[in-house]
């Protein structure tokens, strides 16, 4: 009977739960879904990670390639993130060129990498104007159940921490690059940005970590990305109904707490892979 009510009147169904200050899956308004992380999931990639926030599953693979640095930044390498939402993850996405949500997510991740100073791009340069690393980060969603942006940031961070790059030297005689696959070094991660997404329901109630249904019924979505020094790297609210100053403040405080939780998780997983080796 509840399933019939849910299909016929999804908004009223959710409202009846919000009146009791909880949500259909039993969570509280400010509770995140259980988050699990796994690294080195793809053996052929230079770095990879898989994250699950509730049912939302996102995987990231990093491939490092050598290239000539761009002429306007000859002493820096670069990172190219790409978020892919294949038809596999949800019936919302059709096969074909990337839709608006995937492209907007890719742009958001690129902005977060730049804003948070995640990696010093100058460390990716091997020789000025001649050779640098380019990191292709392919983020693919395997199961879409809301909160894509948070999952993408976590999985990118974990994959970059997991990545190992071979040492490259330029042979002075032949002027060719030589990569020593036996000697591999991990990347130096400067900042650890973590995102927290919120959905505004009925212009007044704020839900943390919305599922796909809650996202479709919400009147606005907000993602706040903080780093470990409690600095804000992104406050992303692509339109929707207005949000007052105090509610925004409340969301930012929640995001700062979440940052600590996720950093502990990523550190635990990185430590466990180190001891396993």
């Amino acid at each position: 009977m509840a399933a019939g009510f849910k299909t016929a009147e999804p908004l009223e169904y959710h409202r009846s739960f919000l009146k009791e200050n909880c949500r259909p899956d039993g969570r509280e308004l400010g509770e995140f879904r259980p988050t699990t992380l796994n690294t080195s999931s793809i053996s052929t990639a230079d770095g990879s990670a898989l994250v699950k926030i509730g049912n939302t599953t996102v995987i990231c693979g990093i491939k490092a390639e050598l290239t000539v640095p761009p002429s306007d930044a000859p002493n820096r390498g670069y990172i190219v993130p790409n978020v892919d939402l294949p038809p596999l993850c949800s019936s919302k996405f059709r096969p074909g060129p990337p839709g608006e949500q995937a492209q907007a997510a890719s742009q958001f991740i690129a902005d977060v990498i730049e804003s948070s100073d995640l990696i010093n791009m100058e460390e990716l340069c091997i020789e000025k104007s001649k050779l640098c690393w380019v990191l292709y980060c392919d983020i693919m969603c395997l199961d879409y159940d809301g909160n894509l942006l948070d999952a993408c940031i976590i999985v990118l961070l974990a994959a970059l921490k997991n990545a190992q790059l071979p040492e490259v030297t330029i042979n002075k005689e032949t002027d060719l690059a030589e990569a020593d696959i036996q000697k591999k070094k991990p990347l130096k991660i400067h900042r650890h940005p973590v995102g927290s997404s919120f959905a505004v329901f009925d212009d007044s109630v704020i839900l943390v970590d919305p599922t796909a249904e809650e996202e479709s019924l919400s009147t606005a979505l907000l993602t706040v990305v903080t780093d470990e020094e409690d600095r804000l790297c992104a406050v992303h609210k692509p339109g929707g109904t207005s949000l007052s100053g105090e509610k925004l403040q409340h969301c930012i405080n929640r995001a700062i707490t979440r940052n600590k939780e996720i950093r502990k998780l990523v550190d635990k997983v990185t430590e466990s892979t180190k001891t396993a080796k």
């Binding site: 949500q101 100073d117 609210k237 339109g239 949000l243």
Partner: protein, 216 residues
């Protein structure tokens, strides 16, 4: 009718604004918005027919297309289109036109900083010119935080390049709350609050400009 105004250079220093409405004959509503040297041309078609695959049974479907000055629209334009579309969806009374489409097309004429703000301001003026019913108006302000912590409103392209962080907000006309927020670079919570306060004050000047442009 063309209006060029020197906005009151109070605490928020906005550049010289200009606006012209109903300049194009084919679109239902059109407007050009000029902020200093940044200039955007907006055209609105709607309410019009919508493809069956895109139609929503109880609301109008809003589509925003941003054409850059050079080249084809890329990923950056898609992200801006998403922001503009969701801001319009919140402002327009879409339930009055079910199974119809409202299409907003923005053409970048010149980019000298504060481009996303100019796009949103041009969109609002064009929606007004098309006579589409809206629950509130919106305007957009960009704030740049320079390397020494100073906050500059409505930055030029040069000021944007030299800034540490760039924050763009869309403010609504009724409660002066934040409708849309898009940021680049890192900043502290206090800087965010100061920027929001400055944007809210600047938005009052911009809404006053809207009123005067429409009156003429």
């Amino acid at each position: 009718m063309s209006i060029m105004m020197e906005l009151d250079r109070g605490c928020s220093n906005l550049r010289e604004y200009g606006n012209e409405q109903s300049l194009l004959s084919k679109p239902d509503g059109s407007s050009t918005f000029v902020q200093g040297d940044t200039s955007i041309l907006a055209g609105v078609y709607g309410p019009a027919e919508v493809k069956v695959s895109k139609e929503i049974y109880d609301r109008a479907t809003v589509e925003v297309l941003i054409q850059p000055k050079m080249g084809l629209p890329g990923v950056r334009e898609r992200a801006r289109e998403q922001c503009a579309r969701e801001t319009c969806e919140a402002a327009l009374l879409l339930t009055l036109h079910p199974r119809s489409s409202v299409t907003v097309i923005l053409q970048v004429v010149h980019d000298d900083g504060s481009l996303p703000s100019c796009c949103l301001n041009a969109t609002c003026m064009a929606l007004m010119d098309a006579g589409l019913p809206m629950s509130h108006l919106f305007c957009s302000v960009t704030c740049a935080i320079s390397k020494d912590g100073q906050i500059i409103t409505d930055p030029t392209a040069l000021q944007e390049k030299e800034s540490r962080a760039l924050l763009t907000f869309a403010i609504d006309s009724v409660e002066h709350n934040v409708l849309m927020s898009s940021t680049k670079g890192s900043f502290s919570l206090q800087e965010l609050q100061r920027c929001i306060a400055i944007s809210q004050r600047a938005s009052e000047q911009i809404f006053q400009f809207y009123r005067e442009s429409v009156k003429r």
